[in-house]
Symmetry: C2
Subunit: 358 residues, 2 copies
């Protein structure tokens, strides 16, 4: 059988519970498709701070880099919220993204027919929404220098960060986005604030230049404030969205909430080469951690993205996605997506039901 190594990073809160389910689903789906997995579990985030003293231990990054793909649960929690920056769980996640060079973050936000009622949007607005946000993940204001604290000429404290993009950083994320759009409905909307920011002006210029190489894709541009409105006014106008790190952080979360079921949404982060990083978009939900209440489907669907975008195993990916849809069709729901007439189950039972369908 084909054999792959997968680094599992359970992380904090509900992370361990949902990763454990996704691991089982990967194993079983793999066995049906002639794929074998070697799993290695490593600490990250708050768990790593507590056990090793840093949010991304060297051994964790090394193991991740050596493997074929990385599956992350969730990181963070109230416990570490007051920590200094280098001891925040979030810092570990940013170091992991940078360390793996996964500059392209793909975040699908699709309203599933089975869950259309979970959306706070009117049915006719939510129905059929199917958006892919392609977010730049290793540049921009998240990583730009100079950054830090200082004093200004009046002797006052200041805090500062730099939003910066180079031509090649823009080109490589735009290329990924054009390719994603081409495989979807052929529409790409680039979101920026080019009426105010120089970093956005360069962004718009480079994206526009690349468009000639993708004449089958219809490119448009939108200001970020307008995009935040249009996502609510008429989300179906969007197919693929490409944007910078911070705008992508905001807009992908906004888009995901349109679906009303963020417990269902996966993400993939990939680079030029090397292993990709796959994780649910939800957080660590410390309030329900360890209570067998978490929805594991976002992580299970992240495992499907791992197969598709990380390993090129399309059949196994489809097998998992189909199993999730079947499980929903059979009426099983965790608390976050429950509705009248459906069967409320916990995290483990949901896992068992997906395994039954795989």
């Amino acid at each position: 059988p084909r054999s792959y190594s997968v680094t599992l990073l359970p992380g904090d809160g509900i992370g361990p519970e949902v990763v454990s389910i996704a691991k089982d689903v990967l194993s079983v789906a793999g066995s049906h498709e002639g794929i074998e997995f070697r799993f290695r579990e490593m600490p990250v985030g708050g768990a790593a701070i507590d056990s090793i003293g840093v949010p991304l231990p060297e051994e964790t990054l090394a193991a991740a880099k050596e493997s074929d793909a990385v599956l992350l649960g969730a990181i963070g929690g109230y416990k570490w919220d007051g920590n200094e920056k280098h001891l925040k769980p979030e810092t570990g996640l940013l170091q992991l993204r940078a360390g793996l060079g996964v500059f392209a973050n793909l975040r699908p936000a699709a309203v599933l027919p089975q869950l259309v009622d979970s959306s706070t949007l009117k049915k006719e607005v939510a129905e059929g929404v199917d958006i892919m946000v392609v977010r730049e993940l290793t540049g921009g204001i998240y990583f730009g220098k100079p950054r830090g604290f200082g004093t200004n000429d009046k002797g006052e404290d200041i805090g500062f960060n730099t939003e910066v993009y180079s031509a090649s950083e823009i080109d490589r994320i735009a290329r990924v986005a054009f390719e994603v759009a081409r495989k979807r409905r052929g529409k790409l909307c680039s979101v920026d604030k080019a009426n105010v920011l120089e970093a956005s002006m360069l962004w718009r210029k480079r994206v526009t230049m690349l468009a000639s190489k993708f004449s089958d894709v219809q490119l448009s541009h939108m200001y970020v404030d307008n995009a935040a409105m249009q996502l609510i006014r008429d989300p179906k106008q969007f197919d693929t969205i490409v944007t910078n790190n911070i705008f992508g952080d905001i807009l992908s979360d906004e888009a995901s909430m349109l679906t009303g079921s963020i417990g269902m949404l996966p993400s993939a982060s990939v680079g030029e080469s090397g292993p990709g990083l796959f994780e649910p978009i939800h957080g660590s939900a410390p309030d329900i951690a360890g209570q067998d209440k978490a929805n594991p489907l976002a992580t299970v669907l992240s495992a499907a993205m791992l197969l598709r975008y990380g390993l090129g195993e399309e059949n196994a990916a489809k097998r998992i996605e189909t199993a999730v849809m079947e499980t929903l069709n059979r009426g099983f729901r965790t608390g976050d997506i429950i509705s009248t007439g459906m069967t409320l189950v916990g995290c483990k039972r949901m896992g068992v039901e997906v395994l039954r369908s795989v």
Copy 2:
């Protein structure tokens, strides 16, 4: 009678149409309350680029500064979209905000009972939403230096901007926000990205420090990505939101779209002293300009904010707001907010109907 000078800046697109209505409404409401206005109309935005060659002529800024309050219509349009930065209409608006020192931008987003069906949110989610976004308007990445274009050490083009806040810039906007919250429902949510950005860490620290002086206000903090989600999931959880310039740009537009009627939404921008700047939050809508289709109510309600926040004329402000509500109750609607059984009217007729109620 008390007498005030008001600078009118009609600007571009539908700007002149809606400002002309608001001017009449101000005059009539004023005459009922013993207030007299001296109006002076000046060019700004694309109109100023075409007639004078710059988006904010010196005489316009001077006139604005000398007056008691400034009422702006809208700026921008396709015609000037390709212009270089110093010749963009938007640049004129930013220069005007900076020139007037109006660092506090108040953007209410309330769902009116008469228009709850215009929202794309389910009725039970939209009903009763009443949010005030207090956006920092003259600092942050909009104005931070260094900014511009350059080359990096690989010789590649780069575009860069600086997000920077000083302690006093944060303190003064936070103080306004606490005071606004105190007069509303006593809840203030400060939105930042303090898990990643140093500028946000200082923001959170200073806002937290100020809280002790406003013990009657309940302060909470939220990350911007989560805020973008929560606005859709459960907008009624918010009373007053305070945030930086760019996050405020995005979130206030998102919040406004929750109401489904951005043609109704006003804004006020005020500083420590000097005239405030009052404008509808909608844009210049070049596609319907000059066709008597624009909804003038956002500008009329901005005139009410001008009376309240700019001149301290609460009675006249209420008179205008009541007139707008009565006009809606009498069933008059412009195209953007029309629904079954209501009477479709144009911009001018809507103005006449409001005047009837003033």
